[in-house]
Amino acid sequence: MTITEEAPPIAPPRAETAPRTPKPVHRTRMGRTLKYVLLVIFVFVVLIPVYVLIVTSFKPPADVTASTSWGLPVRWPWQSATPGGPTGFDNWTGAWSALAPSIGRTFLLAIPAALISSFVGAMNGFVLSRWRFPHADIVFTFILFGMFIPYQAIMTPLVQMKTALGLPSDISTLLMVHVIYGLPICTLIFRNYYVSIPMELMEASRMDGAGMLRTFASIVLPLSLPGFVVTIIWQFTNAWNDFLFAMFLSDTGGGPVSLALNNLAQGAQLANYGTAMAGALIASLPTLLVYIILGKYFIGGLMSGSVK
């Protein structure tokens, strides 16, 4: 399996585009039923954590007991056991006020990180595939290596560097880090994408003596939208869900939502799990929406970023 294969040209993985060949008929009706029963059981099992998250997030602390912990909330989320007491909605408002500032910051982190790495990745991918220079393959391998390392291997000197330069413990430092370590994968995705699409027009323009930047801007960029969708989704999801860099390089006062959520959750005992669960749902919403709306592009990034 090659990297080229693994990053299917763009987005739709082979699983989705493969022509539907007629399948052999099942030998027995029972085998068929059994398969569906099993699949549905698996679906239920996979969704158990989601059920728990949603149900628990609507239970006010007073309604939580060990014996009813799996049950539906005993009253509507706006009702309370005692008049004026805590309701199920309080979990959500509590979680929201704990996370809201960091959610704003995470958008300010993840969106620019995605855009900058994608744009630089597109330029790199272009010259490494379509406007090559001697030893371009060596340069490509040199760049690619960065996505295979465990980031722990650079963390100690990175933290030392941050201290030495007096960089702030907030999203500006994280933005720089995400842009830098996103470059290899974005370069890889764009290189494979540009290899996969025909570019007679570009060759013609090159023959006519058009310069590299002009060719890139006027001919290649307009064709690059699918590549951008994949890299932007990939980078956005990664920056949004990142916890490692956030822990080492930022603090809860200036860090992203993963840090704030962890802070909220570590304090949770059985009684106030509701707030932590509401927080987990809130913090997951942006990436979940991306997955639901742009699922096939998400999978495209997944397949190419597999080792990350």
């Binding site: 399996m1 090659t2 294969e5 699983a15 060949t21 099942h26 398969k35 099993l38 698996f42 679906v43 996979v46 954590p49 728990v52 998250l53 060990a66 799996w70 330029m123 272009f126 010259v127 406007w131 090559r132 220079f133 001697p134 371009a136 340069v139 040199f142 960065g146 295979f148 390392i149 465990p150 980031y151 650079i154 963390m155 100690t156 000197p157 990175l158 030392q160 470059l183 290899p184 590299m212 869900n241 916890f243 822990m247 993963s258 959520l261 962890n262 959750a265 949770a268 799990y273 932590a276 669960m277 987990a280 749902l281 913090a283 997951s284 990436t287 979940l288 991306v290 699922g295 597999s306």
Partner: protein
């Protein structure tokens, strides 16, 4: 390739910022990490001297580090077994043709879109170690179903606790392995299967001699990818248990040492992680490089 600096100058110039930045932040920092790991910089004080491999020898004979390695091995074995098993079964069932395949696929894959920090919240609840009347989470299910004997302390179990920590990881990544296997199944030419059937191969023989050999490169890739992820596991453990001794792995141990400013020790752990990772990366890169060459 056209000759002359006019031809190769501009493209090289365009990638040069990336080369420079990655040169510093990947290669430079790895070198710096190795350098720090050979000094005695165990505190904030910048004075340090070269001590050779002393840190490595100390670490490899330290019970705490060996314990974290043992935890990592338990976690990795269970994690790999689980993701490969579910990933394969799901792909296999879906490949045989299913109504609403897209729905099943989306459900199996969606946990990948969620961060370990978010899923850690719910898994901490599910893996609650209380038993009997006080049981909640999975233990409560066992209690209710009359399977009380299955109740256990999950990650609080002394030796095999890490196997419980692997459960969320399996939940999160089996769908990904399924996607890999599904792509593999779909990549097997239909004619191959037809031909085998024509020759009267039984279903088992079809799998044994046609399907499995065709899938083995995918299985190898999946194995390498999952092992590589396992090696770095950090988020999940931090969010389910925090950095405690019981569930310590090298990556969380490194966090403990770095936050206590023991730079030399944390760099040493990191170098060992990098070496372990290269056990997986290098064969992967070689395999990739070979098959890319074969494609040309």
């Amino acid at each position: 390739m056209r000759k002359g600096v006019r031809n190769w100058g501009p493209p090289l110039l365009l990638v040069s910022p990336t080369i420079l930045i990655l040169g510093i932040f990947v290669y430079g920092l790895i070198a710096a990490n190795i350098q720090v790991s050979t000094t005695n910089r165990h505190s904030l004080s910048p004075q340090s001297e070269f001590v050779g491999l002393e840190n490595y020898l100390a670490l490899l004979s330290e019970d705490r580090f060996l314990h974290s390695l043992f935890n990592l091995v338990v976690f990795t074995v269970v994690f790999i077994a689980g993701t490969m098993l579910f990933g394969f079964i799901w792909a296999w069932m879906l490949d045989k043709g299913v109504n609403a395949e897209g729905m099943f696929r989306s459900v199996f894959l969606f946990p990948m879109a969620i961060s370990f920090v978010a899923s850690g919240v719910v898994w901490r609840w599910l893996l609650n170690s209380a038993e009997g009347d006080r049981a909640s989470g999975l233990n409560r299910i066992f209690e209710t179903l009359g399977l009380g004997f299955l109740q256990n302390a999950w990650w609080n179990e002394p030796i095999w606790g890490m196997a419980a920590i692997a459960m969320p990881a399996i939940w999160q990544l089996s769908g990904y392995v399924m996607a890999l296997f599904l792509a593999g199944f779909r990549g097997i030419p239909q004619e191959l299967r037809e031909a085998a059937r024509m020759d009267g191969a039984s279903e088992w023989k079809l799998y044994r001699f046609v399907v499995f050999p065709q899938l083995s490169p995918i299985a190898l890739s999946a194995l390498i990818i999952v092992s590589h992820m396992s090696l770095k596991v950090f988020d999940l453990i931090m969010s389910v248990t925090g950095s405690i001794y019981q569930t310590e792995v090298p990556a969380t141990y490194m966090w403990v040492t770095l936050t206590s400013n023991d730079y030399a020790k944390s760099a040493t752990i990191a170098t060992i992680l990098l070496l372990l990772a290269s056990l997986f990366i290098i064969p992967y890169l070689i395999q990739t490089w070979r098959s890319e060459k074969a494609d040309r």
